[in-house]
Structure formats: C-alpha cells, structure tokens
C-alpha cells in the first residue's frame, strides 16, 4: 500500500476521469482525495470510520488508473485497503445484513436463484425496506428467465480452430443464462470447441470488490482444479470476473496456492478479446441497418485495457453501424454491487450514461458485462424507453442467425 500511496504526486490528472468527482465535485470523492484519506488513516492522523464513507463511494471503476501519469496502482491500493479495513469494521445492523446476503447468496447460483424468487415477492413490500434492500430488490427481474444449460462439450462447427472452457460466473447464470448460451454458440460457429465443466462456478471477484477477501479466496479456489488442462483459454463473458481474476496475484499473495491462482488467472480471457484475437468468421449480419451503441464496461476498458477488440468484432457484422457515445469512459454506476451499496450515486451515473447513449440515437445497445446491462435496462425503464440492451455475445449470436 505504501508504494502506491508514495507514487501519488497529487497532480490531479485523475480528477477528470473520476465519475464520483464529476458528480459530487469534492476532493474527498476523487482518486487523489481518497488516496490522501487512506494515507492519513494509515498514518493514524484520521479515524478509519471517518474516511470510510468516501472510500465506500469509490466505484472501483479504475478509470483513474490509465489517467495517472505517475503510475499509481490505485486498484491494488483499494483492494488492499478495503480488505484490511473490513476486518475491524463495524457496520450498522441492516447494512451488515444486506452485506451478509450479498456474501452468502450472490456467489452461489442455487442460493441466489432462491433469493431472487423470494426477492420478487419481496419487491411488493420494498417501499417499507431500507434503501440498501430496496435497491437490491429493484434490480431483480419480475420473473427469472428459464435455465439454458450447456452440454459439457459443445463441438466446433466446421474446421476446429480452438478449444476453450467457459467460466460460468455466478449472478449472471441466474439472471441472464442467455449470455453464456449465446457466447458458446458464437464460439462454436467460429470453429471453437466449448467445454462447460459442471463443477465450475463463481470466481470470487464480486466478493473481492467489496473487501470480503477470505470469502473471495474460498470460492475462487474451487475453480483451480475443475478446468481441463489441454484448452487454449478459459473464457469469461463478465468484465468484472476478468478484472477480478487479474487481482488473484494480490488476493493469494503469501497463500500456499498462490501459484495455482496465478496459473489459473493466466488462462482466463475475455470473450470479445479472445474472439477478436482469433479473428471472427463473418456472420450473416442484419437485413437492414442497425445503429448500435457500444457501452464500455469499466472492468474491460480501464481494468483490462479492452477497448478496440469488441469494436472490431461489431464492425465486422454486416449492416451494423457502430456509433460513438460521449464520455464513453465514464462508469454507468453499476460497478459490481455498487448499485446496491450506493443507490443514489449509481442512479445519477446511470441516468447520465443513458442520456449520452440516447443522444447517439441507437437501435440497440451492446455491452460486455451483465452489471452494465442490468443498470442500463433499469435506467431506460425509468425513462419509459424500450431500447434493447444486450450482451455483445447475444448480439453476435443474432448476427449469426441472420436476424432481420
């Protein structure tokens, strides 16, 4: 932590990239300010609990990292700090309960499915609940989509160009099973054999993101041994998984299985990045022009530097017109469990994002992350706008099917 703090020269270049600074306009809610607060807490000049609200308000979107000329590893700093503070932190009872629900339910598809169904009933009474619960419930769909199980091995179509395994994720497979289903079909259509190991599960990123390090390690470990050895890559369709797994080195530092953790992390690749690198086999495309806005997920753009790859894929779809949207690098406010923890800021950022998207007049919106998709849908619904939002894998799958 000390190195990251020392590297900050307080120049302020990060302020321009920070969503909370742009919204709240105060130094404590900027990357530079948060680093300063963390520094003062570590130097015991400030009480941790006083600084905590500002650290909590950080989206963890990582937009400040590429913006920093001095090379502050803000992500590492935030993860370490949150992890260290969590041990001694006392939360108000209701917050603690909401957090416990997140930790105990979100990473486990079976439990989450159950909770989501109960939650759908709970939404009726959500007005009577504290904000954290209400926002959690509001994010849940009226009705869960049907399961779309994938076979253990989906064979490649045509000449085999590669073999991969799909990381199933957690929340996504309950709320939007169609994403991984579409990803597998698109990969197969591109000559790639797709494995779906039955025991694979959550990667723990969602827990790491909120500072629940122990729980994150526990759940991440389960994946280390369940994937076949002789595959080209483990593919994830969730931006947050990909970036969280990049932090395994930090998460498992000093642990006996640190090596297995980094070996696993090295094999993981984002769906769009993998496909763009391999080269897309041209899909049939659309019969008439579709104007598409691509929404950059922070955990692809800032955390993994994945910017051109998804765009390259989209441009290869016949009759698809890729639009540029203003402030593309600004977070939509989803950020893992942020729209549960900080509903007001999340909503304001979501509103702003949707407005920039609508200004480009798209027919549909594509993104590489379930969190962004859920957030954008919710914000569009509030405006009464039926604009479809889908995962880039789903859009590609439509293009292969010759959607008109």
């Amino acid at each position: 932590m000390a190195t990251a703090i020392e590297k900050c020269v307080h120049c302020g270049f990060c302020l321009a990239a920070c969503p909370t600074y742009s919204l709240l306009g105060e130094e404590m809610d900027s990357p530079r300010g948060r680093i300063y607060l963390m520094k003062n807490v570590l130097e015991e000049r400030l009480e941790a609990q006083d600084a905590q609200p500002y650290i909590d308000r950080c989206l963890g979107c990582m937009a400040c990292v590429p913006a920093c000329p001095s090379g502050v590893e803000y992500g590492d700093l935030l993860v370490s700090y949150r992890g260290a503070q969590e041990e001694s932190r006392r939360r108000p009872p209701l917050d603690a309960l909401a957090r416990k629900l997140v930790i105990e339910a979100l990473p486990y598809p079976k439990r989450f499915r159950l909770a989501a169904q109960t939650g759908a009933i709970g939404r009726v009474i959500s007005d009577a609940l504290p904000a954290a619960f209400a926002s959690m419930l509001n994010l849940l769909p009226e009705k869960l989509p049907p399961r779309l199980p994938l076979p253990p091995v989906l064979p490649a179509q045509g000449e085999r160009r590669g073999v991969v395994a799909l990381l199933p994720g957690c929340v996504q497979q309950v709320l939007a099973p169609a994403i991984n289903y579409a990803a597998a079909q698109v990969l197969a259509a591109n000559g790639i054999e797709v494995h779906s190991p039955p025991d694979a599960g959550c990667c723990g990123s969602i827990l790491l993101h909120i500072g629940a390090e122990r729980e994150a390690q526990k759940i991440a470990r389960r994946n280390f041994t369940v994937f076949p050895r002789d595959i080209d890559a483990i593919i994830t369709t969730a931006a947050g998984c990909g970036s969280g797994i990049n932090d395994y080195e930090l998460l498992f530092k000093g642990e006996p299985d640190a090596e297995s953790a980094t070996a696993f992390a090295d094999r993981v690749m984002d769906f769009g990045a993998y496909l763009a690198e391999l080269g897309l086999l041209a899909p049939a495309g659309f019969k008439s022009e579709r104007r598409v806005a691509y929404q950059d997920a922070c955990h692809l753009l800032h955390a993994q530097g994945i910017q051109s790859q998804p765009r390259t894929l989209l441009r290869q779809i016949p009759n698809l017109r890729l639009l540029s949207i203003a402030d593309a690098g600004m977070c939509c406010g989803s950020a893992g469990t942020y729209n549960i923890d900080q509903p007001d800021i999340a909503a304001a950022l979501g509103r702003r994002k949707v407005e920039s998207i609508l200004a480009a007049e798209p027919d549909l919106v594509a993104s590489g992350n379930i969190g962004c998709i859920t957030q954008l849908r919710q914000q569009l619904a509030l405006l009464g706008n039926p604009l479809p939002v889908m995962h880039i894998a789903e859009l590609l799958w439509r293009a292969y099917q010759g959607d008109r």
Binding site: K7, H10, F13, L15, A16, G25, E27, A51, P69
Partner: protein
C-alpha cells in the same frame, strides 16, 4: 475558525456544501505542490455567482482570509489553503454560458476546465489556445490567477492574450467588469485584464470570463528529433529561432524525463540524451514550406534520429508523453520540486550546462522538461522526503537554479507563478521600491489583505515547510538581510 463566521456561512450554504470536519478538510490541505500543506478552517463549494459574492463580502466584513481553488493543480502552492482561513472551491461553477462561433468567443464560469472549452468549440472548427500540461483538469479561474502558459504559448501567447473580458468580485466585495465581449477590444479602457490576469488570486475572484477562440490550424507537422547531447538540442532551438521560423511549440526533454514519460505512456521515444519536439501549425501550404526549412535545420543540428508524426494518433502520443512528464517523474522518485525559471533562449545551452554542474554539486537527480522555444525551464529536482534534510537540500539546489536564471537575465517564473513556493525569491527579481508599489496596489484593492493572504509577497511563516539556516539565495550571495 470562529463560530460566528461558520454560522454566517451556514446562512449561505447548505450543510453538504460547507465542509468543516477534519476528514473533509484534509484532502484540501495541499494542491499539486505537496511540499506545503495547511488545513483550512472551512471549505465552501458555491454553485452560483451570488454565493461567491456573498462569501467574499462576508470574508471582507469579518477580515477572514480566503483562497479560491479550482482543481488544485497549482505547482507553486498558489491554491494552498490559508491556515484556518476559508477555501472557496469553484470547481462546481463549470458551465460554459455562451459559445459564439461567429464572434469566436466563449463566456465561461471560473470552474470550467481548460480543455472543456476546446471540446465545446471543436464542432465549430475553433479551439482555446493556451494549453497548460494539466489542461485536462485545470480550471480557467486558476489559469487567470497565474496567467498560465503551455507548450503552444510560444506562438499564441499566454492566458492574458486570450481573455477579452471578466466580471470580477474584488477582495473588498466590490463587483466590477473588465473588458467585454469585443474581440477587437472596442470600448476597452486601461488594460485592467492585464492587471488582474496573473495576480495570483490577490485581487479577488473572476466570476465570468470571456475568452477568445481561435480557428483550429488546418495542418500540424510534429517533428521529434533525438540528440546524444542536451546542449546540442538547446543549440538546435537557437538555430530554429535564428532562421525566423515561429513554430507552434518547441519542447525539450532530457534523458531522465524521457525515461519517466516512456514508463508512463510508452510513447516509443528514441533512447537519447535529449529529445526536441517541434510542432509547426497553420495553413497547409505555409506549413509544408516551413516543414522543408525545418527539416534542413534539424538535419544540420546533429540529431541522430528524426521522426515525423504521420497521423493524429502519433502526434497525440508524442504530446501525451510530454504533457504527463511532470507527474510521470513520480515513477522515479517519491518527491520532487518542479522549477519554472526562464532564461533568454539564446543562453539556453549555457543554462543547461550550469544546471548539470549544480546537479553534480548537490548529488541530486534533476530531470529537465521545458518549453525551449521561450526559454522556460522546468527542472524537476528529485528527492526523497523521508530522508533527513533531503527537502532542504533540494530547495537549496532549486534556489541556485533560480539565481542562475536571474543572473542570465531571465525570471524566476515563466508560468507557474510565485505562489507559496517562490515568494522569498521575489526580492531577487524586484527592488524594494517595486515590491512596495505592488503592495500599495494590493492594499488599494484589498485593504485587509484577505485574498490569498501569505502568497507571492515575501515574508511570513511558511505553513509546513520549515526553512533552516540561511536562505539559499543568501548563501548564493544573491540577497542579503542588510
């Protein structure tokens, strides 16, 4: 901070825009010059003109000192809080109130970010010329206070050349208007804009600023030349100047600065002792003709490698390395001091040789990044603040560099301002009478000395940086206490 004053602020600001708790104040205790820090008594975040005016009037009435702050990017401690004084954060006043492409003007609030003006003007083929390296975040209010420059000020001048009018609340609470919206300066009396721009926040706060917009150059030609000797790069600048060419920008970076910038943006800079960036801009036929001439000069100057940016992306990459170079030095050293001295550009080579000798003498690393075209040096003195006496040693070296600039016929500041950092060097530049005149002028506008108290003028206690023993300039024989 006294209770009555806070209570009065409470009548102007809602609780969420009046910051008084320690956790809210600490992040404001430094700007981009972290060698100094001071905890303000309170921070207020006005959202409109009326709140600023009420606040300044209140400060005047109760004789409470204040400092206006935009994004807190000053490199001279210009927006450093006054201990127990009021910090007025102007960053929320960030509206572009008017943009008139016909008249080529924009009317903006003080918290508008420099680059935001260019972004708003771009669709009309216009831009705002002054481009400090921090243009992506620094605000116009701060640019005005310090008459900010930037790489391209060689050709187009500093902030003062681009401000046409200002509505101002003076430190005593009086409202006034300088200049207007006329690009020709019709109806403008004495050059009060020239007086206010660069006054380091000592006169008051600009509430509304009318700036000049310029047509975007039709063509840029950006040349990167690599040298195996820093002096040779300096000489190349003199050759370009002597040829009569007036490039948009001429910048030099030395080995250490190249290393830092390269680590930061991977610009693919050549491995060299010095890099010279020359940018020509303007109408295509003229730029092309100038480019041929420039190529001839650069080839003659002994560059071992010359690159020309082929597209906008390559140009951006070259500039990104240069503009982020200061902060990138944070990769090499935990602390550094940025200097801002100026020397006549004909004596650039001489100055660089002397700085290099000083570096040896003090056994400190110095990275050089500078606006070569106008002789504005930016030596970055690297030190580790955790080592005993390191800061004092770095400060002493900085003092010698400033003395050198004065000796060569230059100035102690080109664009960062005196602020907190260089206030004790002011007497080395100006006579006692000159400083007295400045002080008399200040008192005429701010009788209670509340606006940015403690900055620019020598004397007073530095809030955090303790000076020990003789002042560096005393030691260098430039000033004395007699």
């Amino acid at each position: 901070m006294n209770r009555a004053f806070i209570a009065a602020l409470e009548s102007i600001y809602p609780a969420d825009r009046l910051l008084t708790r320690e956790v809210e104040l600490l992040p404001y205790e430094s700007d981009a010059l972290t060698a100094f820090s001071a905890v303000p008594g309170a921070v207020v975040l006005p959202v409109n003109e009326a709140e600023i005016i009420d606040t300044v009037r209140l400060c005047h009435e109760q004789a409470v000192p204040f400092v206006a702050r935009g994004s807190g990017t000053s490199l001279s401690g210009g927006s450093l809080p006054i201990p127990d004084g009021l910090t007025i954060g102007l960053n929320r006043l960030n509206r572009i109130k008017k943009l008139d492409p016909e008249q080529r003007i924009a009317v903006v609030e003080p918290g508008v970010i420099n680059l935001a003006i260019t972004e708003a003007a771009q669709p009309y083929g216009l831009y705002y010329a002054p481009d400090p390296s921090s243009q992506s975040i620094c605000t116009i209010g701060g640019n005005i206070a310090f008459n900010s420059g930037g790489a391209h000020c060689l050709k187009y001048g500093m902030t003062s050349n681009h401000v046409l009018g200002m509505k101002v609340v003076l430190a005593d609470g009086a409202l006034t208007q300088f200049g207007g919206e006329s690009i020709e300066g019709v109806g403008i009396g004495p050059d009060l804009i020239g007086l206010f721009v660069g006054s380091e926040g000592l006169f008051g706060i600009a509430l509304e600023i009318t700036v000049r917009l310029m047509p975007q150059p039709e063509l840029y030609r950006t040349v990167l030349a690599a040298y195996d000797d820093l002096g040779r790069a300096g000489d190349a600048v003199s050759m370009v100047v002597a040829s009569g060419l007036l490039p948009g920008a001429m910048e030099i970076m030395d080995r250490l600065a190249i290393k830092a910038a390269e680590a930061s943006v991977q610009a693919g800079y050549p491995d060299a002792e010095a890099l010279l960036i020359v940018e020509l801009e303007g109408e295509a036929p003229q730029v092309e003709a100038e480019f041929d001439q420039l190529r001839g000069i650069i080839d003659e100057s002994g560059a071992f490698e010359v690159r020309v940016a082929n597209d906008e992306e390559e140009r951006t990459r070259i500039w990104k390395g240069r503009k982020g170079a200061f902060s990138a030095v944070g990769r090499l050293s935990p602390d550094y001091i940025v200097q801002d001295g100026v020397v006549p550009r004909s004596r650039l080579g001489e100055a660089l040789v002397e700085i290099s000798a000083l570096k040896e003498k003090y056994q400190l690393e110095v990275a050089n990044v500078f606006h070569a075209g106008d002789g504005n040096l930016h030596p970055l003195i690297l030190y580790d603040g955790r080592e005993d006496g390191a800061l004092e040693k770095a400060e002493a070296l900085a003092g010698e560099i400033l003395a050198l600039c004065i000796r060569l016929g230059g100035s102690i500041t080109g664009e960062h301002g005196i602020g907190m950092e260089k206030r004790d060097y002011l007497p080395a530049m100006f006579s006692e009478e000159e400083i007295d005149i400045m002080q008399a002028l200040r008192l005429a506008i701010d009788p209670k000395e509340i606006a940015n108290r403690g900055k620019m003028f020598p004397g007073g206690e530095a809030p955090a940086l303790a000076q020990h023993g003789m002042h560096p300039l005393e030691r260098a024989g430039v000033i004395s206490r007699e």
